[in-house]
C-alpha cells in the first residue's frame, strides 16, 4: 500500500480557471495521473495543490485545420482516444502505434497526450520507493547529490521515456503552450533540454494546450518501434521513430528526406543526422543496414533504465534495421 502525500485538489472547468489555479505557488498539474501519482506515492514531489484538467473540455479536441494543413490534438485527449481516432489513423499511423503501445489499455484510458509530452524523465535510481532510495542516499534527481548512472556526473542522466514524443518530433509537431506570459508556439524538438531534472522549456504556470501535426507534403512512410521487457505495461528500453519523405510510391522509391528520432537515451530525444540516407533507394538492404548503423553510432545508451547499456545499444542497430525493412515490405 502506497499513500499519497497530503495535498489539496482543484478541478477547474475551463481554461481560464485552470490557468489561474496553476499560477498559484505550490500548484502542480495532474492530467491522467498515471505517472504523476506513482511518483507522488514514492515522494518524488510533494505539491501543495493538484490541479486536475479532467473537466476542461477545451483541451479535449481532435480537429482538422484546413488552413494550416495540420491536425490539432488537445493536450487532454487520452491515448486510447488517439489510438482509436480515424483521422489520426489515416494520416499518422506511427502516432497511433506509439499511443497504442503505451503501458496497458487501462492506463491508455486515463493517460493524456499532454501528459505523455510532459512525462517526467525516468531512471532506475529515481523511480523507486522512498525506502529503496534511502538505502543508496538518493541521487541528483531525488534526495542526494551524486549520480549513480554516470559516476562523478554533475548533471542528471534520467531518460525521456515517452512513446509519443519521438514520433511527434519525427512528424514535425508544434507545441502550443499557454501561461501567464501568454500563448506561444514552439517546435516540439526545441521543448526538451539535456538536463534530466529540468528537462523541458516549460515556464512557471504554463500549460500545454495543444499539439499541431502538419500533414506530410508528399509521399511519406513513418514508423515507431519500441522494445520493452514485457509486452505490456513497461516503459521502453529503447524507442525509434522514423519518418521518410519519398520520391514515389512503391518499393523502388528514393529517400528525399529522413527524420530519425531516438528516445530513452537521456533527457533529450536524439534527432539523428541523416544526410547519408538521402538519395538511397528506400527498399534496399544497404539502406536498412545504414539506418541500423546510424542508430547504433549515435545512440549512446546509459545504465539509466533496465538492461545493460551495451545490450540496448546493440539492439538499437537491430530495431533500426528491422523498422525500415518492415516499412519497405509493407508498401
Amino acid at each position: 500500500m502506497l499513500r499519497l502525500p497530503i495535498f489539496q485538489t482543484k478541478t477547474p472547468t475551463n481554461l481560464e480557471e485552470l490557468l489561474s489555479a496553476m499560477s498559484e505557488s505550490g500548484a502542480r498539474l495532474i492530467a491522467g495521473g498515471t505517472d504523476l501519482l506513482p511518483n507522488l506515492k514514492h515522494r518524488l514531489d510533494t505539491p501543495e495543490t493538484l490541479v486536475s484538467i479532467d473537466r476542461v473540455e477545451e483541451l479535449r479536441h481532435i480537429t482538422w485545420d484546413e488552413d494550416a494543413r495540420a491536425l490539432r490534438i488537445g493536450a487532454g485527449v487520452t491515448l486510447a482516444d488517439i489510438a482509436a481516432d480515424n483521422e489520426v489513423g489515416e494520416h499518422f499511423p506511427s502516432l497511433v502505434k506509439a499511443a497504442s503501445l503505451v503501458a496497458s489499455p487501462l492506463i491508455r484510458n486515463m493517460a493524456t497526450l499532454g501528459g505523455n509530452i510532459n512525462l517526467d524523465t525516468r531512471c532506475r535510481y529515481v523511480n523507486q520507493s522512498e525506502f529503496w532510495r534511502s538505502a543508496i542516499g538518493g541521487c541528483l534527481k531525488s534526495e542526494g547529490d551524486v549520480c549513480h548512472v554516470v559516476p562523478k556526473g554533475r548533471s542528471c542522466a534520467a531518460a525521456m521515456s515517452s512513446d509519443c514524443v519521438p514520433v511527434l518530433i519525427s512528424l514535425g509537431a508544434t507545441l502550443i503552450q499557454v501561461g501567464p506570459q501568454g500563448r506561444r508556439e514552439l517546435a516540439l524538438v526545441d521543448y526538451y533540454s539535456s538536463d534530466g531534472i529540468e528537462h523541458t522549456q516549460k515556464l512557471v504556470g504554463e500549460i500545454t494546450t495543444e499539439v499541431q501535426i502538419p500533414l506530410p507534403a508528399g509521399e511519406s512512410a513513418a514508423h515507431y518501434s519500441k522494445w520493452t521487457v514485457r509486452k505490456s505495461i513497461d516503459f521502453p528500453l529503447l524507442s525509434i521513430a522514423m519518418n521518410f519523405t519519398l520520391s514515389s510510391q512503391g518499393a523502388d522509391a528514393v529517400i528525399e528526406e529522413a527524420i530519425i528520432c531516438l528516445g530513452v537515451l537521456a533527457a533529450k530525444p536524439k534527432v539523428l543526422r541523416t544526410d547519408k540516407l538521402v538519395g538511397l533507394r528506400f527498399g534496399d538492404e544497404v539502406t536498412a543496414s545504414l539506418v541500423g548503423e546510424l542508430c547504433f553510432k549515435h545512440g549512446k545508451t546509459l545504465e539509466n533504465v533496465p538492461y545493460e547499456a551495451d545490450y540496448r545499444r546493440s539492439m538499437l542497430r537491430v530495431f533500426g534495421r528491422r523498422a525500415i525493412r518492415q516499412l519497405a515490405d509493407s508498401r
Binding site: M1, L2, L4, I6, T9, T34, E48, M110, S232
Partner: protein, 175 residues
C-alpha cells in the same frame, strides 16, 4: 531515517476536505474524504466496497480496476476529486439476481485461484465486451487484459472464460 525524510505535511492531520457525490453501482452516494485520497481509498475505506483490491498501488497490476463513466480505469491512480460527479461501477455492482455471464464463465472454467486479480479482470473484461458487443478471439482478450496481472493461473482459463462469455453475451443480444 524514513521519518526524517518525510515532509512535515505527511504527518499533519487529514481533514475530510472533499464532499463527493457520485453514483456508485447505480446508487447516489455522498461521501466525505481527504483531498489526497484516491478513488480506490474512498471505495475501500469510506464506502466499505472492498471488492476492488489494493495491489501494487501504482498502476502495474490492474487489481483496482473499476469503471468510471463506462470506461475501465485504475482507481488507485484516480483522485477522489476526479471521480466526483461521475458514475462508478465496481465488482460489487456486477451481480444482480443472477451472476453476470463473465462471472458465470469464470466460475465454470475455474479461472480464479487466489482470486485477488479477479475483480479487476471482471471490470476490465465487462467494459471491453460491452464496448465491442460481439464474440471475441483469444488474442483480442489477451490484448484487452494486458493491464491486469494474474500470478496464479497463467491466464489460459481466464481467457477461455472471457471468450466463452463473449459468445453468450453476443447470442443474448441477438435474441
Amino acid at each position: 531515517m524514513l521519518a526524517q525524510l518525510m515532509p512535515a505535511r505527511d504527518k499533519a492531520p487529514m481533514p475530510d476536505a472533499l464532499l463527493l457525490s457520485m453514483k456508485v453501482n447505480g446508487e447516489d452516494v455522498e461521501v466525505a474524504a481527504p483531498a489526497h485520497f484516491t478513488l480506490l481509498e474512498v471505495l475501500r475505506y469510506k464506502l466499505d466496497l472492498i471488492g476492488s483490491k489494493q495491489g501494487c498501488d501504482k498502476g502495474d497490476c490492474g487489481a483496482c480496476t473499476v469503471q468510471v463513466d463506462g470506461k475501465a480505469k485504475l482507481s488507485c491512480l484516480t483522485l477522489a476529486a476526479q471521480a466526483n460527479g461521475r458514475e462508478v461501477r465496481t465488482v460489487e455492482g456486477m451481480t444482480a439476481a443472477h451472476l453476470h455471464p463473465i462471472q458465470d464463465c469464470m466460475d465454470k472454467e475455474v479461472a480464479a485461484q487466489c482470486g485477488f486479480c479477479t475483480p479487476g479482470i471482471l471490470m476490465a473484461a465487462e467494459a471491453y465486451l460491452s464496448k465491442v458487443g460481439r464474440a471475441v478471439s483469444r488474442e483480442e482478450v489477451a490484448e484487452a487484459l494486458a493491464g491486469n496481472l494474474c500470478r496464479c493461473t497463467g491466464y489460459v482459463k481466464i481467457v477461455d472464460a472471457i471468450v466463452g462469455a463473449s459468445e453468450i453475451m453476443a447470442n443474448t443480444e441477438q435474441d
